[in-house]
């Protein structure tokens, strides 16, 4: 046995990417690796990446599905730039991903899928596993399909059923490689396939075979260990951005004591919000799958009018359709949260890929002067906090609030320290049951917030009519008076602008003045923060700062002066410069831009390079 004892190398972090055909179960393999890594205490971040088609032709490059995971014994912010380990279940997966693999990284291929037919489908004339490839990477060729077949030889299963378990073989191998326990996945398999004993048994056998194969076949040079990270004490779970929004909204319903209403129409990558909330009926959550996006938002506004905690969830193309109704909510001054999980555009664009290109749309994509609140989430866990904040502002100021997320954080996961809900503050709202004057004035306002009262149907004595037509400032009746309209336009604008007094100052990571400030928003947080950290570590004398903006309308009060305290402002965005445009237009401050529109998040390296370029 001694000769089989490997040296276990302790390392800080690793990035692994599982890739295969969209039918190969790569998302599942990735999420299992994620759960197990979380349980052993690593900090982690994931990046699931899948095709828009349900099943693109098997074995082709458009059908490749991938799941990347960065796990570490230290605090990390991104799923990692380039994988240390790439698992390619077929030639198409290899073709689509090999360029990303780190030089000298480990490439595990399922050689059984490197047949002439599969090579051709992937667009290879001959096998890509050449000497060149082997010189550049540590190539590990494994007959995964065949070994899976042998493992289940004596089981009474169809070849299709056997083939479906081969992802467990790959998972088992990587578990051994990174010294992960098998138990959590075994438990998961037993749960998932309850009642199908033969399938449970097959998956567990194959998982163990993969593990033992890696152990005995000596295919890896080393076995690695990544100790648990020093995270803040508490109870943790993994959470994706979309599920964090769902839990945030349910929590908001508790904290407001209002029934939650979600009006939604299925759209990628936002549908999971509808799916999850639909499950939680016993939390007094009313979900409504509407006939279209317009009905979805209109029903939500109807709910807000009737006193509900109203939410609608969608992605950019859905926002286009909802815009007219959102403007009505602005005019009628009703509270509603509009969740926009952005994706590549314009039009249908890249449904499953990420982008940050709806900022100008949500700020300005409506007729008339129609201000509303826009806030953005930066990480999957941040989605929880941002949901609560959206609800707080919507109710206090009687306004629609846009919550911006995107495909990258919506599906990406990270460990989340579960908050103590008792310690979260109650969220107040403006509902009234009586009015001090004999005649109710529906647009009478709180002097400080300018938020109007919320008199809900069913309340005696407060009967009133609202709508999209301009209202008289005093009586709330329809008014076409030019001076009144101007006053109302200003009032609605001041109401939103005044929210700057109710949000925290813009925080800065690093010095509050200096040579370079990197300004980001949304899901670019991780790449920017890591790039700034890396740069500062390498260049302790040339400190760079980072401001990550959560509040995009209104901006924090100190934002302008902060921007003015730096020689150069760099704004990296997954668009052609939308925040840059706003900063330049609002504050007259020239900014440097870093833009990417490939349907993929920034790598740390990309941002770091730009910083280095700007600060020699």
């Amino acid at each position: 046995m001694d000769n089989k004892e490997k040296k276990v190398e302790v390392i800080k972090s690793a990035t692994i990417r599982f890739t295969g055909d969209s039918g190969d179960g790569m998302q599942l393999t990735g999420s299992q690796f994620t759960s197990t890594s979380a349980i052993v205490g690593n900090d982690l971040a994931t990046f699931p990446d899948f095709p828009a088609e349900i099943r693109a032709p098997a074995g082709t490059v458009p059908g490749v599905s991938g799941f990347q995971l960065n796990f570490s014994s230290e605090k990390i912010h991104t799923p990692g730039d380039s994988p240390d380990v790439l698992i390619a279940m077929n030639p198409a997966a290899l073709k689509a991903n090999i360029a990303d693999l780190k030089t000298n990284g480990i490439l595990i291929v399922n050689t059984d899928s490197f047949t002439d037919k599969d090579l051709e489908k992937a667009g290879y004339k001959e096998s890509p596993i050449t000497t060149d490839l082997k010189n550049k990477y540590q190539v590990i060729e494994v007959q995964i399909s065949k070994l899976t077949g042998i493992a289940l030889e004596e089981k009474n299963l169809s070849s299709k059923e056997i083939d479906r378990t081969k992802n467990m073989f790959a998972l088992g191998m990587t578990y051994w490689m990174f010294s992960r326990p098998l138990d959590p996945t075994i438990k998961w398999i037993e749960d998932k396939f309850k009642g199908k004993e033969d399938i449970i048994e097959a998956n567990i056998i194959v998982l163990k075979k993969g593990f033992h194969y890696a152990e005995t076949a000596e295919i890896f040079i080393s076995q690695y260990q990544i100790p648990g990270a020093k995270l803040e004490p508490g109870t943790y779970r993994n959470i994706t951005g979309n599920s964090a929004i769902v839990l945030g909204l349910v929590t908001a319903s508790y904290k407001t004591h209002l029934p939650l209403f979600l009006g939604s129409y299925p759209i990628t990558p936002a549908s999971d919000i509808l799916h999850d909330l639909s499950k939680y009926k016993n939390y007094h959550i009313y979900t409504f799958q509407a006939e279209d996006e317009i009905a979805a938002v209109s029903a939500a506004i109807g709910s807000a009018y009737a006193g509900g905690l109203a939410v609608t969830s969608t992605s950019g193309p859905g926002v286009c359709l909802k815009s007219e109704a959102i403007n009505l909510a602005i005019m009628a001054e009703l509270p509603i949260v509009i969740v926009n999980i952005q994706r590549g555009g314009p039009s249908t664009g890249l449904p499953t890929k990420t982008e940050q290109s709806d900022l100008l749309q949500v700020l300005y994509g409506r007729n008339g002067e129609s201000p509303l609140v826009v806030i953005s989430a930066s990480t999957p866990t941040d989605c929880f906090d941002v949901s609560l904040e959206s609800v707080r502002l919507a109710l206090k100021y009687m306004t629609p609030v846009f919550l911006l997320s995107d495909g990258y954080i919506a599906n990406g996961a990270e460990p989340w320290r579960i908050p103590n809900t008792d310690e979260l503050p109650e969220i107040t709202h403006n509902q009234i049951t009586s009015f001090p004057e004999p005649k109710f004035r529906p647009f009478a306002r709180n002097e400080e917030t300018l938020g109007r009262h919320w008199a809900i149907p069913g309340t005696p004595g407060l009967e009133h009519r609202i709508g999209g037509l301009e209202k008289d400032y005093h009586t709330g009746n329809v008014s076409y008076d030019p001076n009144n309209h101007e006053k109302m336009v200003h009032t609605r604008a001041e109401k939103i602008a005044g929210i700057a007094n109710d949000i925290p100052d813009q925080e800065v990571y690093g010095e509050k003045k200096g040579k370079l400030l990197v300004v980001g928003w949304g899901s670019t947080f991780g790449a920017i923060r890591s790039a700034v950290e890396n740069f500062n570590e390498k260049n302790p004398d040339k400190k760079v700062s980072h401001a990550h903006v959560r509040y995009l309308n209104p901006f924090p009060k100190n934002f302008k002066s902060l921007l003015e305290s730096f020689d150069t402002i760099l704004v990296p965005e997954l668009n052609l410069g939308q925040l840059s445009f706003i900063i330049q237009g609002n504050f007259g401050i020239k900014v440097e831009k870093l833009n990417k529109v490939k349907g993929r998040p920034f790598t740390i390296q990309e941002v770091q390079q730009k910083i280095e370029e700007l600060i020699q």
Partner: protein
């Protein structure tokens, strides 16, 4: 003790700004007259409208009201009714608003059978946008946007409602206060979506369009009043009747064929076929039916939704926020 409300209690303090002679006045009056009869306090009544002349309606009712956006009133009503099922919700729409831009929402709200009342004012023209042909205009209608005649086949609102599985469908017209009021009362009492088409006159852009149907001179010959359980008789001397046979309606001369040849109107027929045949009857070949075409029981959307919430709560127990946040695999960091 509740004080009995009167018609006046339902009139708001706003000036009614429809054109003089507009059919909307009659409808407003009939609804205000019906309201006290419902026995519902006015704070529990909500009028929701889209865009158009008819959609200014909520401003004139001293109840809760929401003047929304083009065609979407049924969707706003859906959110209101789900959030507070105790409210009496009325959707006021027109032929353009409800059948053109809002056609999708109209059919889906009827399909869901929310307990709301949809009143569609049909004047076969766009009024507020100043006189373009509408989805109910006859083919060949000359209007601002169809100077050489419209090319489109008109919708028959009642047929659409029946096609969308409506549980209550009725028609009335703006010249008959009593009938309108009766129909609105029936609509309000129906549990489920009530769809009422009101033939309405646009004095400016389509004056007299319904005169061939309900003009004083022709009314008795050109309309037929549907009454449940009664033979379908019409005509000045009550000498004509309707016989329904499969997909065909024929006119019976009672003096020759006798009363037995006339079909009995049955609002409660589960099968919508007869109601559908009646919905196809129009001038000049048939008298136009007024009254209730269909009144059947179907579960309402909001009742089912709230029942489902209660059912899940019974099965799973009342939602526990902490349990929810701590669900999924958790681990402890010390």
């Amino acid at each position: 003790m509740t004080i009995a409300l009167t018609k006046k209690d339902f009139a708001s303090d706003q000036d009614v700004r429809w054109c003089p002679g507009c059919g909307d006045y009659g409808i407003l009056s009939a609804i205000q007259k019906t309201m006290p009869e419902l026995g519902i306090p006015k704070e529990k009544v909500v009028f929701i409208s889209g865009i158009g002349c008819s959609s200014r309606f909520p401003y004139y009712m001293n109840t809760y009201g929401f003047h929304t956006i083009h065609g979407r009133a049924p969707s706003f009503a859906t959110g209101v009714k789900i959030t507070n099922p105790e409210l009496s919700v009325w959707v006021i729409t027109g032929d353009g608003d409800g059948l053109s831009i809002g056609g999708n929402h109209l059919i889906h709200s009827i399909r869901r059978n929310l307990d709301i009342n949809i009143i569609l004012f049909n004047n076969e023209i766009y009024g507020l946008t100043k006189g373009q042909y509408s989805p109910t205009s006859e083919r060949g209608t000359v209007s601002k946007s169809s100077p050489y005649g419209s090319l489109e086949a008109p919708f028959k609102p009642i047929s659409i409602a029946l096609g969308a599985e409506a549980s209550f469908v009725a028609r009335t017209h703006d010249k008959n206060q009593k009938h309108m009021s009766d129909i609105f009362l029936r609509a309000a009492q129906h549990k489920g979506t009530s769809f009422v088409e009101v033939l309405q006159n646009c004095v400016i852009f389509n004056d007299g369009i319904h005169d061939p149907v309900y003009g004083r001179e022709v009314r008795e010959d050109n309309t037929i009043t549907l009454e449940h359980g009664k033979p379908m008789i019409f005509g000045k001397n009550n000498d004509k009747g309707i016989s329904l046979d499969g997909s065909k309606a024929s006119i019976v001369d009672i003096t020759k064929e006798g009363l037995d040849a006339v079909s009995i109107h049955d609002e409660n027929r589960e099968n919508p076929d007869h109601a559908f045949v009646l919905s196809r009857m129009m001038q000049p070949h048939y008298p136009v039916p007024m009254g209730v075409f269909r009144d059947v029981e179907r579960p309402t959307y909001e009742t089912q939704l709230h029942a489902q919430v209660n059912q899940v709560e019974r099965e799973k127990g009342e939602g526990d926020l902490k349990k929810l946040l701590f669900s999924d695999e958790t681990w402890e960091v010390k």
